[in-house]
Amino acid sequence: MKNQFVTITLNGQKREASCESRTTLLDFIRHYLGATGTHAGCEHGACGACTIELNGEIIRSCLMFACQADGACIKTVEGISSQDNLSDLQAAFKKHHALQCGFCTPGFLMSAEYLLNKNPSPTELEVREGLSGNLCRCTGYVGIVEAVLEVGKMRLNSKRDSNA
């Protein structure tokens, strides 16, 4: 099979590489572009570790082919904080022990950011539902849910302060 050139905007940077039609977007980002923040877990859509943002919507990068994403704007976990600083959500994950091995964390961070964008003040149930597509085998989810709820409140308060 012939290789195809794929160009994507990855976290604001234009990147391109050539790959086979059967290369998943996940493998393309990790192996061809070297951005290994996005993790490959089950590779069939069950675990959510490979969750990324494609043109503003979160998707599973293992469930689409790189060729289908040609021209798309993609945000991965590398794009959620500036340089070496932790984002507020990452800091809250650290504070609440929302990770142990950290394998699922990139997916959780992408899903949680998306959830907070769509719904800035979610209830605990809404957080649990919003993150239901991501599996964590270490934490039991309690710390993760606490971290997301806290960041939701923090962001609302700082927004209120800046409006006052």
């Binding site: 195809q4 590779e43 979160i58 599973r60 539902e129």
Partner: protein
């Protein structure tokens, strides 16, 4: 995991898609959202030589109301329909079901027609089409035909689609003012396929009760009952009488129990339904 090599055809029109299907037939699979097909390819359960990717076909992305039908094109993503502002007014049962359909990241990509094409007996959308008595429109290069849900779903993951046909739309009847709707489901994890799901459509004394997850296809039963308690009586008898699947996820006893409890809840919800206006 990696799919076997294939040739990817990214088509831009309905005509192009149908020509390729006519040419390759069984050697080709239609790729829409890919939320079922890509895992199937990754695990090499299927290894077609050609994939016809319809994601770039603009004319497939339409949600339309035509007379008394809600027509969903093959490019319409589940999230697109879920977030369509007119959905509750047009067909509230679908609105009630969407929170149960998989997870956000899957609904953002998966299509409505794709779920119908996959025909999983536990799928909420498959159950919705069956209980609402919807239709599937199948197009080949030469012809278009419409078929009722009951004839389209012929077994677990099996449909009446021919290898040169594309699901060019699914049609859900729109809600009537005097109809009541109910829906209840039990699954092991939020967003997982249902162990049992029950959907109810009530109009005056007529009750239509659909069960998902109990057999190879959704089962729809109908009864005329003057009161909710009469309908529930019928539901309990049905739950004991009909054949119910048994598999490692649940015994048939558990499924019968869920049919009764969820069914009762869905019937009461349909009775109390406030109407769409």
């Amino acid at each position: 995991m990696k799919p076997a090599p294939f040739q990817l055809h990214q088509v831009h029109s309905r005509k192009e898609a149908l020509s390729l299907l006519e040419k390759y037939k069984d050697d080709a699979k239609v790729l829409a959202g890919g939320q079922t097909l890509v895992p199937v390819l990754a695990m090499r359960v299927a290894s077609p030589d050609h994939l016809i990717d319809i994601n770039k076909v603009e004319e497939f992305k339409k949600i339309e109301v035509q007379n008394d039908l809600l027509r969903i094109g093959p490019g319409v993503r589940q999230a697109q329909l879920e977030n369509w502002v007119e959905l509750y007014k047009t067909q509230p049962l679908l609105s009630m079901m969407f929170p149960w359909v998989s997870h956000t990241a899957i609904r953002n990509r998966g299509t409505v027609c794709g779920s119908i094409a996959h025909a999983d007996p536990s799928s909420e959308l498959v159950l919705a089409l069956a209980v609402l008595r919807g239709t599937v429109e199948l197009s080949s290069k030469k012809a278009v035909r419409k078929i009722r849900a009951a004839e389209f779903f012929i077994g677990a993951l099996q449909t009446d689609r021919k290898s040169n046909e594309l699901i060019s739309a699914v049609n859900f009847p729109i809600a009537k003012k005097d109809e009541g709707y109910g829906f209840a489901e039990y699954g092991y994890r939020h967003g997982d396929f249902a162990v049992v799901a029950v959907a109810v459509v009530k109009r005056d004394d007529h009750w239509r009760i659909g069960f998902g997850g109990i057999d190879d296809v959704p089962i729809v039963v109908e009864v005329n009952a003057a009161s909710t308690s009469k309908a529930i009586e019928f539901l309990e008898k049905t739950s004991s009488d009909i054949e119910v699947r048994e598999d490692p996820t649940a015994t048939s006893g558990l499924r019968r129990h869920l049919m009764r409890t969820l069914g009762k809840r869905a019937c009461m919800q349909a009775e109390e339904f406030k109407g769409i206006s």
